[in-house]
């Protein structure tokens, strides 16, 4: 099967229906293993048991940026190739990305209160992630504001690509500015500073959450294709009496 075959909505629907049960099972298995490893991980010598919040906060934070990356690639597909499946991928990723960003913000806040003594600080990392969350909401509003899906897709694609500037700002904010948020400790020059006892559960949870995103995204794309078929049939139905008259 070539990429062109996959880009056909009917083929995509057929493939999605076949792989979704397997993806969902793999997601459930990995998240179950990740939760077990997180529950049995030792306490941190400074943070105590609150380190367990890291196992859900960090995957959500990674995904908040990853999903915008996926939307940016799809936005290129919309603007360069004008492919309807790229529009569908863009539109359906936004609410899922918004949910992950919301969870990153709230779990970070709940981790920050006992460790920093505050739920919120207007530092560069926290503020740039809040801006990312607002951009997700803005994109979702834009999709709802324009009736014609292909017109909405082009406007959303431009906004997505402009918003992508925020992703490196989020990533490097802890290096460029003085922030309360700690600098990178997993993907950094010189290797991870995390002990294996924390690193392994974190990576398992990160892969589990990434599979969760893929599962939800493919299922949501399938729904969106069906919604567009409904729209097409409703337009055909509406045009029938006029054709007969």
């Amino acid at each position: 099967m070539t990429l062109t075959d996959l880009a056909n909505p009917s083929r995509f629907l057929s493939l999605a229906t076949r792989i979704l049960p397997w993806l969902a099972a793999a997601t459930a298995l990995l998240l179950a293993i990740g939760l077990y490893l997180s529950a049995t991980a030792p306490d941190d010598y400074q943070q105590g048991a609150t380190v367990k919040i890291m196992f859900i906060h960090v995957p959500n934070a990674w995904l908040s940026m990853f999903v915008w990356g996926v939307m940016s690639v799809a936005a290129l597909g919309t603007l360069v190739w004008r492919h309807p499946l790229a529009d569908v991928a863009q539109k359906t990723a936004a609410p899922i990305g918004a949910a992950f960003t919301f969870l990153a913000l709230v779990t970070g806040s709940l981790w920050g209160r006992p460790m920093w003594g505050t739920y919120w600080q207007w530092d560069a990392r926290l503020t740039s992630v809040l801006i990312l969350f607002l951009m997700y909401l803005g994109l979702m509003a834009l999709w709802r504001a324009v009736d014609d899906p292909s017109r909405a897709a082009r406007a959303a694609a431009v906004l997505t690509l402009v918003g992508a500037i925020n992703i490196p700002i989020i990533k490097f904010s802890v290096d460029w500015w003085n922030t309360l948020h700690q600098p990178a400790s997993v993907f950094r020059m010189g290797g991870s500073t995390l002990d294996r006892a924390f690193l392994i559960p974190l990576l398992v949870m990160a892969v589990g959450f990434t599979l969760l995103f893929l599962t939800l995204h493919i299922a949501a794309m399938r729904n969106e294709i069906l919604r567009r078929r409904v729209r097409t049939l409703q337009m055909l139905q509406a045009s029938k009496p006029r054709a007969a008259a």
């Binding site: 057929s14 030792p42 367990k52 899922i96 299922a219 078929r229």
Partner: protein, 60 residues
């Protein structure tokens, strides 16, 4: 599993919130799928078909 210590409420709230949001996402996707399939079946039952003649509700 080790005891969660003095900040147990922060840890439990975080995990519960993540579980709740994921449950909402899964529920949204499943309900939406059923709704779209039902709408397609209703439209086809009322005699509206795709130009290709293929069933819009059939996806495999």
């Amino acid at each position: 599993m080790t005891p969660l210590g003095p900040y147990a409420s922060f840890i439990v709230t975080s995990y519960a919130l993540v579980a709740a949001v994921i449950a909402v996402l899964i529920g949204w996707v499943m309900v939406d799928y059923r709704r779209q399939k039902a709408r397609l079946h209703d439209l086809e039952a009322s005699g509206v078909t795709r130009r290709s003649g293929r069933s819009a509700a059939k996806i495999s």
